[in-house]
Symmetry: C2
Subunit: 308 residues, 2 copies
């Protein structure tokens, strides 16, 4: 295919930024790639592994001549990154991002980059790992990328950004930023908060040691520790920028948890059984939609006896 | 090694029972194996796949001549199963189980089988799947099996049961039933309740459709759906039999969740960042202890592009 952009600048070279660079390299090698990270150590590492054609010394240099800039920094760092790169932006450049909350980001970018073409985006993909070495080219394959164009966005820009993400293997959806934030509050933000919370709770007990928590984690707890190992800066910013939707979902979760707690307290088996039966169907649908591994236990390999 | 038992009867041929039978076959082929399940369809299937040497028509027949009987039924079905098999028990037979709560099971078994040798056990292992076809021989490898012998237990019985589980690849720990129930309340029971709860919450929203929840589940939610696909009968019984420890842990979890909620409401970034940083270390320890897959995303294969 013809590349939808001539030069892409990736600002922020962590898990997402480095995966984006690798994916563009693999799928659209004609695109020139520049990159920048505020952390000198990350810039140095990106240079060592030749993540992009050119690791720039400043954000403004990185975006010079680019017709697409993708901000891959924590949501709370978007405004600073946008201001830093503003002097280098070419006329007509399209600005996008990969942040996990969208209404706040859209407002921040519009304020920091007045008059620029901006289409925020969120590829719903990631792992619990961070940094330029954690990225991989297939991260976005079969994952959804949600674009939240402002009402005034140019349809041609939307089409080009869609073409880019589809070329990287993603499926693209378009919705307004507010609805995105509500949907992701339940499919991503609330699960992360709950996981962070339960891992913290388990760490702070007096009558159960951390060693016991670790040893017997295969009973279910270990699943939560994966999510709770995600990048703290990124997640702090998500909760600060999507506060209302997260608080809404937390309220609903608390109401449901109170019901289950009361059922346990009352020894109400039928209510528990009924609840636990309903939740089975959702997993089947997720697997049928290709959004999770169909093998038991996510296909974990730790039953193969290879480990100590 | 010399097999620690001559004939083992497995009562209940679901995920755990069929895994136990397969593991014994693989590691200790000298042991004669009989089996029984209260569900005629499961008995028929067990016969078809020759899961044990002899699928009996009654629990009493299954245990006849066995020097070890392992109850692999939901905790709430233990007493009924014990009563059903009691007439067939040989003198000196050792009775054990694989239930996820232990103090209640110990009391039920002691009442149902007075005068018998009983050592309850809990292999901390499983998947979200159920039934005789879901089992596999390596399920217990590198997992901990917790034995909770009563004070009067014969040390020779404890040694034989330990030898059996170690032969199946498990690591054995011994503790009292009450402490087991407290530890597992945090490493297994609370995580399951939270997962069941959040999956229910996500299913019942008005402004977010189930289709959206499924599509964007890779943002974190899908991890919870695996646990929430676990067997409803088994988990109902766990919560009914380990009520006090679960309510204790729920109280602590709620207190911590309230703190995180207040931090979000107040826009208190440092508190969130601090909490999210502490939880990272636990996962590293779990992986170092061989209790989870070290690969990102549990080594899920859905980035390989093989799926639709």
């Amino acid at each position: 295919m013809t590349a939808p952009f001539g030069k892409v600048a990736v600002i922020g070279l962590g898990l997402l930024g480095s995966s984006l660079a690798r994916a563009i390299r693999a799928a659209l090698p004609a695109i020139a790639l520049s990159g920048y990270d505020a952390d000198p150590a990350v810039r140095a590492r990106a240079g060592e592994i030749a993540l992009v054609d050119d690791v720039a010394d400043t954000a403004a240099q990185a975006v010079s001549g680019a017709d697409l800039v993708v901000l891959c920094v924590p949501v709370g760092a978007m405004a600073t990154a946008a201001q830093a790169m503003a002097p280098g932006l070419a006329p007509g450049v399209l600005i996008s991002d990969v942040g996990s909350s969208k209404a706040g980001v859209a407002a921040m970018l519009a304020q920091a980059l007045p008059g620029h073409r901006i289409i925020p985006a969120h590829p719903v993909a990631g792992t619990e790992q961070s940094g330029p070495d954690a990225g991989f080219a297939s991260l976005f394959r079969n994952r959804w990328c949600i674009l939240t164009p402002p009402a005034a966005a140019d349809p041609a820009d939307l089409a080009r950004l869609t073409a880019l993400w589809e070329a990287l293997g993603a499926r693209v959806d378009v919705m307004d930023a507010e609805h995105h934030d509500l949907v992701l509050a339940v499919t991503s933000h609330l699960p992360h908060l709950i996981a962070y919370c339960i891992v913290g709770t388990a760490s702070d007990l007096e009558r159960v040691t951390q060693s016991e928590v670790i040893k017997y984690s295969a009973g279910g707890f270990r699943d939560f520790t994966r999510i709770a190992a995600s990048d703290p800066t990124m997640w702090r910013d998500v909760f600060l920028t999507n506060r209302d939707a997260v608080l809404d979902m937390l309220g609903r979760f608390n109401r449901d948890l109170t019901e289950l707690t009361e059922a346990i307290r009352a020894g109400d088996g039928p209510t528990l059984f009924d609840h636990f039966t309903r939740t089975r169907a959702i997993r089947r649908s997720i697997i049928a939609m290709g959004q999770d591994d169909a093998r038991p236990d996510f296909g974990r390999s730790d039953h193969d006896g290879a480990k100590p």
